[in-house]
């Protein structure tokens, strides 16, 4: 995981926002895009075993 990759990912998400809602709107929410894109990028880098299933509501209900 590098800073350059992270910055590139943030820019990629920003450009997606720009293409969807226009430059003015994307600029207005730049800070949110940066926070969310950073979290998305880092979550994407977490190593997970294939046995790890996602949390679901049903799983919570199975507890005693």
């Amino acid at each position: 995981m590098t800073m350059t990759e992270l910055k590139e990912y943030i820019e990629e998400m920003y450009r997606t926002a720009e293409s969807l809602w226009g430059q003015e709107e994307a600029e207005k929410i730049r800070q949110h895009i940066e926070s969310t894109a950073s979290a998305v990028y880092r979550v994407g880098k977490i190593e997970l075993s294939t046995e790890t299933e996602p949390v679901t509501k049903l799983r919570h209900r199975e507890k005693p």
């Binding site: 949110h32 895009i33 926070s35 790890t52 509501k57």
Partner: protein, 436 residues
């Protein structure tokens, strides 16, 4: 003591014994509201005549109800039949549901009187309310359950509902110097509570004592359980690491002093290390919450985007950009975090950390960081905050206790033990607010 400052348990006992009537209690609370609301702004809706009528109509013959004749504040994202429910949003300014949220139904069945609807940040996210902190009205009470925390602290009601997705019960309770409870995920029904993030949303509430928190939990779960504090000193896991790195120095000092004090009272205070998976909590929480908030709002947002506040607009928009695979990856990592945290907590009666990063921030624009509460919303583990003292700015600090899933009862017993040893007086020391 005037009735408005009675604890829930005390008021309940006095109503049952006939020492005080529901209308006397209600009048005292309404007087308190009329006296302090111009400073605090905790309420969105109160129909005082209806509240009085409900109190008059409440009989005291049925002593089985746990909340008979007790007026309760309800966060304005809980549906209340026939009573306006705004979600803190102009979109729902005139919305009146035709049914009650399950928890509202439950307290009504237990004999409670709905006192009114308390201020919430917009859709229980960040865009703030006009509510002020009773300890210092230049400061936020925290959010999103801003009105509920402030109302309980100042004596407008003995108990109020909040909800928590990040830190919306524990943080405002801590900032306002009261007890806050966020039970295990899904212990209490969320039906009829406007969603923010389905897999993170929790029902919660604030009281002024741990005994009251126990009383309320009995009422909400139809449980007969006599209140008792833990008698023997508990075995407590002390969390530092992430919490020490992110806490303001004064919060950390207050926390360390409390740890020393509880140790001095005989508790086993054992240093414990957070599992490696814990470092992913902020990112995993952000991804899940942003994606689910975007999904929950998508339809209305598309039609009424300009009517949303500035913060939530950006939050939803960025959430719409999260890939599905990343959302699922976050939910998978969440499973690992939950497993690791339960393994850690099972070694103790509970673990502790500060309830907030800081004391209540100055101004009303920012309701504070949920960084110390989001881990327990993410894992669904029950958490309780008890006041642990005042910082040098005379604002309250909170100690957060976290237990194993569905261990609320024993968690409250330990919280009761800590509350007794800490001995904090929850009445706000604010020279501008009248007291007895």
């Amino acid at each position: 003591m005037k009735p408005y400052m009675m604890s829930l348990t005390e008021a309940s006992n006095k109503i049952k014994s006939g020492e005080i009537s529901p209308i006397e209690l209600t009048e005292s609370l309404l007087d308190r509201i009329n006296e302090t609301e111009p400073l605090i702004h905790a309420w969105v809706t109160i129909d005082q005549e209806k509240v009085r009528q409900d109190a008059i109509n409440t009989t005291t013959a049925d002593t089985k109800n746990k909340l008979q004749g007790i007026p309760i504040g309800v966060k304005d994202i809980y549906y209340t039949a026939g009573m306006r429910t705004t979600m803190g949003s102009p979109i729902y300014h005139d919305f009146t549901p035709d049914y009650d949220a399950d928890m509202v139904k439950q307290i009504k069945a237990q004999g409670a009187i709905i006192l009114g609807k308390t201020e919430t940040t917009e859709f229980a996210l960040h865009d703030p309310t006009p509510t002020r902190n009773p300890w210092n009205t230049n400061h936020t009470p925290g959010g999103s359950s801003s009105g509920s925390a402030a109302a309980v602290a100042i004596g407008m009601c003995p108990v109020a509902f909040g909800s928590q997705t990040g830190g919306s019960v524990i943080r405002p309770a801590s900032y306002c110097g009261v007890v806050g409870v966020k039970p295990t995920y899904d212990l209490l029904s969320r039906a009829g509570v406007f969603p923010l993030s389905w897999s993170l949303d929790h029902i919660g509430y604030m009281t002024r004592t741990v005994e009251d928190a126990h009383h309320m939990l009995c009422a909400l779960t139809d449980t007969e359980k006599e209140w008792k504090k833990q008698e023997t000193p508990p075995k407590i896991g002390v969390l530092r690491g992430y919490f020490k790195e992110n806490a303001e120095p004064e919060v950390w000092e207050g926390y360390e002093n409390t740890i020393t004090r509880l140790w001095g009272e005989g508790a086993e205070m054992i240093d414990t290390t957070l599992p490696p998976s814990f470092k992913h909590v902020p990112d995993v929480h952000r991804v899940i919450m942003a994606a689910e908030t975007a999904a929950a709002h998508e339809e209305v947002f598309r039609k009424k985007k300009p009517e949303y506040g500035e913060y939530i607009q950006g939050y939803i928009s960025s959430g719409l950009l999260i890939p599905a695979t990343i959302y699922l990856r976050a939910q998978r990592q969440r499973a690992k975090i939950i497993e690791d945290m339960i393994n850690l907590i099972n070694e103790y009666d509970c673990v502790v950390c500060p309830s907030s990063v800081d004391t209540a921030p100055e101004g009303l624009e920012w309701t504070g960081s949920p960084a110390f509460n989001a881990p327990w919303s993410l894992t669904g583990l029950p958490s309780v905050t008890v006041p642990m003292g005042l910082a040098s700015n005379k604002l309250p600090l909170g100690l957060q206790l976290v237990g194993a899933p569905y261990n609320e009862w024993s968690l409250l017993m330990v919280a009761g033990w800590c509350e007794e040893k800490i001995g904090f007086d929850t009445r706000p020391r604010n020279p501008y607010i009248p007291t007895d």
